[in-house]
Symmetry: C2
Subunit: 202 residues, 2 copies
Amino acid sequence: MQTLYDHPLSGNCHKVRLLLSMLGLTYRSEFVDVPNEAHHAPWFGRINPLRQIPVLEDEGTLMCDSQAILTYLSHRHAPQWLGDTPETQGYVVQWLSFAANEIGNSLQPARLYYLLGEKVDIEAVSAKGRRVLEVLDAHLADREWLAAARPTIADLACVPYVALAREGHLPLDDYPHVIAWIARIVALPGYISMPGLPPMAN
Amino acid sequence: MQTLYDHPLSGNCHKVRLLLSMLGLTYRSEFVDVPNEAHHAPWFGRINPLRQIPVLEDEGTLMCDSQAILTYLSHRHAPQWLGDTPETQGYVVQWLSFAANEIGNSLQPARLYYLLGEKVDIEAVSAKGRRVLEVLDAHLADREWLAAARPTIADLACVPYVALAREGHLPLDDYPHVIAWIARIVALPGYISMPGLPPMAN
């Protein structure tokens, strides 16, 4: 049984919960009380020196970083989620970097500012967030999925903080292609929700 | 013939130049004058809406993001650079995320602050940079390479801005394992230098 070091309100954790659910994999969720600094305890530093969740523990393997966990699980169980040509495999990583850096330093901290009062330069972060949404909306204008003709881990890595953008006071109304893409992900078999995300379709 | 949209002082471009050289691939370098804002010209926005270099153009495929380009080139020419088990493939992406986010938001902007006077919170960025170097040094204390028993694109993605840290006033003297790892990369066949990096061994 694999263990996910997890928090129900973390979008990074939700990326992994989405794939675990879509692949039908069972796991144990180990609650890490990040808002109360549990990730700064010594025991957690031994699991992830970067002190970030999620971490996946699978038969003695510790995998940190949500993008890496998505990659690991796909290689183990469902390589079709990784792209099937050098081009699509490259595009997948392009959007994994986008999730880790561009989204992770805009939509994600904007949400933490309004939800938890985290100290961030909210003007700069919001402007960056709008730019992220513009880039995504333009990219999705003539595509169903970010990196290939089918959903990949690129979509799962990007969707949580995009779909949660409203909690960072960045509503999606001006980004119709982003809204349609979120709806396609919600309609995928195995989609699960979290507070702030759309409920399961039916 | 592939084209790399390139700048000689960019560490992100150098990640790609390193792999192209190690794989013995020829390419045309297209100079993009980033310090003089060439990446904000309309023509470049059509190549990369994020307005970042490097971009690789290969037989009509445009690949943006240095981590994605490393992935694409490895899938096409040298999959041994990607790891060969789900674990090592996951670890590779763990360090690609680390390069895109943790290094890209610490050592990289610290260098731009001192080289180009870029507006950054230099205190915050330097503290983050020291933390990045600590994490790397601890990780490399009992390992030769970041993600596997052999060099992978994880090493190439992380090494330029680490080896250039001194230009961001973050000297490496306190990180002996990082210094030894850089020396191992310098000794790899096909290693090439750039201003600020160690010269080729012999």
